[in-house]
């Protein structure tokens, strides 16, 4: 029922009932937004699984042989499957291109670390012939990958909560 009479015609004659209606409507919207925000974050296992997939891809470079040719594409498929799983479990499809809401600083630190560890791991593995260097680089990236995922999720939840 629409009771905000006079809204369209002007602000001057705002009655008390209208104000109460407006506040009630804002409260309803805030509750719905908070529920939505809580539901729209990824479950904890998503970030752990993503970190493990990344580790497996790095590990495959150390194992070598034919594994290198099918593990990285399989990893890409696994990430897509994980996204579909989260969508089915949570009932929400989140736009992950907006995941940098956690701030540029932490995300750039993570991507910088990713590039450095990949570069150093590849140099040691294939240049200096230090076996398992890529696997160690993947293992070192496991925790930061989980942490940055959780960080971005918490930032999104905070932002949405504040907006609500």
């Amino acid at each position: 029922m629409i009771t905000l009479s006079g809204m369209e015609s002007g602000w001057g004659s705002t009655s008390r009932t209208d104000v109460e209606d407006a506040r009630r409507a804002l409260d309803d919207a805030a509750v719905a937004r908070q529920r939505g925000a809580a539901r729209a974050v990824s479950p904890w296992w998503y970030h752990v699984a993503t970190g493990l997939v990344l580790f497996c891809v790095f590990l495959s470079f150390s194992v070598g042989g034919g594994v290198v040719f099918f593990v990285p594409p399989l990893g890409a498929v696994a990430v897509i499957v994980l996204g579909v799983l989260v969508r089915r479990v949570r009932g929400v499809e989140v736009d992950r291109t907006r995941d940098l809401r956690g701030g540029w600083g932490p995300n750039m630190c993570y991507y910088g670390l990713f590039l450095v560890l990949t570069g150093v791991g590849a140099y040691l593995e294939f240049g200096a012939q230090w076996r398992w260097s890529m696997a160690v680089a993947g293992a070192l990236l496991l925790v930061p990958t989980i942490m940055i995922g959780r960080h971005n999720d918490l930032a999104k939840r905070r932002e949405r909560g504040a907006r609500a």
Binding site: A25, L26, V31, A32, A37, R90
Partner: protein
């Protein structure tokens, strides 16, 4: 820039809550919205139909499998309308702070 416009389509409580929830993500499964807002299937269907006809919400379902899940999403137009409507409500709520109300009563 958000245009503050009172939107009669969005304003009813259930529709406002549906839009507010959809605004928090990309696509939402029908059952998730129903459960989170505590609505029945028929009530949610009815409200979604109104929102869809106004171009505020899209409803997606696999054409091959009619029993598959139904997904709802807020359109860009729906997002603009929601933000505009919330802006109007906020302005209205701000216009009557407790001090102002007391002044009016005196």
């Amino acid at each position: 820039m958000i245009e503050a416009v009172f939107d009669e389509v969005i304003h009813p409580s259930n529709r406002l809550q549906i839009c507010a929830m959809l605004a928090e993500g990309g696509s939402w499964e029908f059952a998730t919205v129903r459960d989170e807002l505590g609505l029945s299937d028929s009530v949610l269907s009815k409200q979604v139909k109104v929102l869809r006809e106004s171009g505020y919400v899209t409803v997606t379902k696999s054409p091959r499998n009619p029993r598959s899940r139904t997904w709802l999403a807020l359109t860009a137009e729906g997002r603009r309308a929601l933000e505009g409507h919330l802006t109007v409500l906020r302005r209205m709520a701000e216009r009557s702070s407790p001090a102002r109300t007391r002044e009016n009563e005196q």
